[in-house]
């Protein structure tokens, strides 16, 4: 198993798509910074542009932690799942397309171990992506805006019903928690993409199938006409990761939804293993 993991890790670090995902995230952060900067300028006039740290409403609100939070919440929903899908979708289907899958399966390793090792490598990729993205946002926020306390208000982020505040050091810890909770949520996407990768012979098809399923449920879940269906969508359960940014973390709710996501992940993986063990590899 460890040899298998080592080999899969080597494949991951040699793949161009691995580095491309980090580059795209850097581009996103640059875009966010630009948007944040011009928004502050529009709201406060030319003088504030030089300082960037103040608005006409409050001196504390627009700080680096708020910037990092907005950037993370905007990107998590649509950007990160794409990279996770790509990574997981290419695991089996990519090998099949390259013609190496049959050769791998002739080795004295179980197909289940192969699936598990590929999933663990994808999980590591997701973890690295999220840790890098959060770290980059915090560093950029510190350099360009400055850190302060994390002020939370009811509104577009839908995190709180009433104004709240998380002190700076505690807020930084919460970003650390978000790396873990976010990765756990993304594992559902990874497991789904791996299942699609086993079913399909093309990595592109596997990725598209995963993204299509995810986006369909996400969009439908955001329209309140379908409010009664939302509890049945895994995209709804995935949102639990954001709870680490509430002033008082709702641990019970967080535990519940983390377990639901875990059940999705384990169930999808089990289905993947069962299907792959019975799959006739012809390429």
């Amino acid at each position: 198993m460890f040899t298998l993991l080592k080999l899969e890790l080597e494949k991951l670090f040699r793949a161009r798509s691995f580095y491309l995902s980090f580059l795209v995230l850097i581009g996103f952060v640059v875009l966010m910074l630009w948007g944040f900067y011009t928004y502050a300028e529009r709201k406060t006039g030319g003088q504030a542009v030089e300082q960037f740290k103040y608005t006409y409403e409050s001196k504390q609100y627009f700080n680096g932690l708020t910037f990092a939070l907005y950037s993370l919440l905007f990107s998590f929903t649509l950007l990160l799942p794409i990279f996770v899908s790509m990574s997981a979708g290419s695991q089996i289907a990519g090998e099949a397309r390259a013609g190496t899958l049959r050769m791998i399966c002739t080795r004295p390793i179980s197909r289940a171990s192969l699936i598990l090792s590929k999933f663990l490598v994808t999980a590591l990729h997701a973890l690295l992506l999220l840790a890098f993205f959060i770290g980059l946002n915090l560093v950029v926020g510190l350099i360009f805006v400055g850190w302060g306390n994390l002020e939370l208000y009811p509104g577009p982020l839908n995190l709180v019903d009433a104004p709240g505040k998380i002190m700076r050091d505690e807020a930084l810890m919460r970003f650390g928690y978000a790396v873990l909770s976010g990765t756990w949520a993304l594992l559902v996407i990874a497991a789904l993409a791996l299942l699609c990768s086993v079913i399909s012979d093309s990595p592109v098809q596997a990725t598209v199938m995963t993204i299509a399923a995810y986006l369909t449920l996400y969009i439908v879940g955001r329209v309140e006409f379908f409010d009664h269906l939302r509890p049945y969508f895994f995209t709804t359960d995935m949102d639990f990761w954001r709870d680490v940014f509430k002033p008082d973390i709702p641990w019970q709710s967080l535990g519940h939804y983390a377990c639901v996501c875990g059940a999705y992940t384990a169930g999808l993986l089990l289905a993947t293993v069962v299907i792959f063990e019975r799959k006739d590899i012809v390429t």
């Binding site: 409050s58 179980s110 019970q252 875990g262 059940a263 384990a266």
Partner: protein, 276 residues
Amino acid sequence: MWVKLILLLLFSLMIFGAVHFAVPSEREHASSSTERVRSVRLLTWNIGYAELEDDTRAHDKDLPAVADVILREDPDAVALQELTGNSQLKTLLGLLHGKYRGAVAQQGNGDRVEAVLVKDVAAVFTTVPAAGRYAIAASFKTRAPVRSILVLSAHADAFNAARRRRYTEALIDWAEDRTQSADVFIAGDFNFELKAANETNLYTDNLKHDSESYSHILRYFRDLGRDAGDTAINDRRIDYVFGPPAVEQAGRIEVLRSVAVGRMDHWPLLVELDVS
């Protein structure tokens, strides 16, 4: 084989965990008319600060300015919101040189209260419970007393449209019951976010709740400040004076945009009406 067993075990464990951590789930209105025409001037004002300030309630240092506005505009009744408590009201009444009497609503779960001020020394004040919050009502008579006038000072939840709706329904039920014996006016900060022009959400329940609340009020009362424009910063019209449908405008209906002081985010709404 062992991989499948582990995955099955993990799956079962997660299902058990999810179940274990599961969070348990929680007018006929007819306005009467009299042969005598009476005019009444009402003012409503949320004198608190913008929501990003440290203390968003009314500040003592602003009370002289608030008193100046009241003395200058000379309303018959004033509805104020976001006072810190009775002591602040007493300070204000002192600055008004005894021209007004007033009362604050019972403090609910929040840290601020509504107040109503009237000139009539014989006015009767009543606390109005509304869905976990409290409004304050004053029943009084003006210069030509036939029917009494009832003015409620209200302040709906700033952050939750569903709570606003419950509050509004309870308030309107209470007010509507008294329209037979008095001319009822409901004045205050309702926080209805009804301007959906720039919304980016596909559809939200918040808009629906606010719309329903506002429509419910309009079944029994008229939005007297409708044409006066925005009453708060960020282009929001969230302060209202609702009154009997039959009431006529007697003079100004105006948002006094130049009188806010400190970091107030609301402007007072003044209405002058003929009550018949």
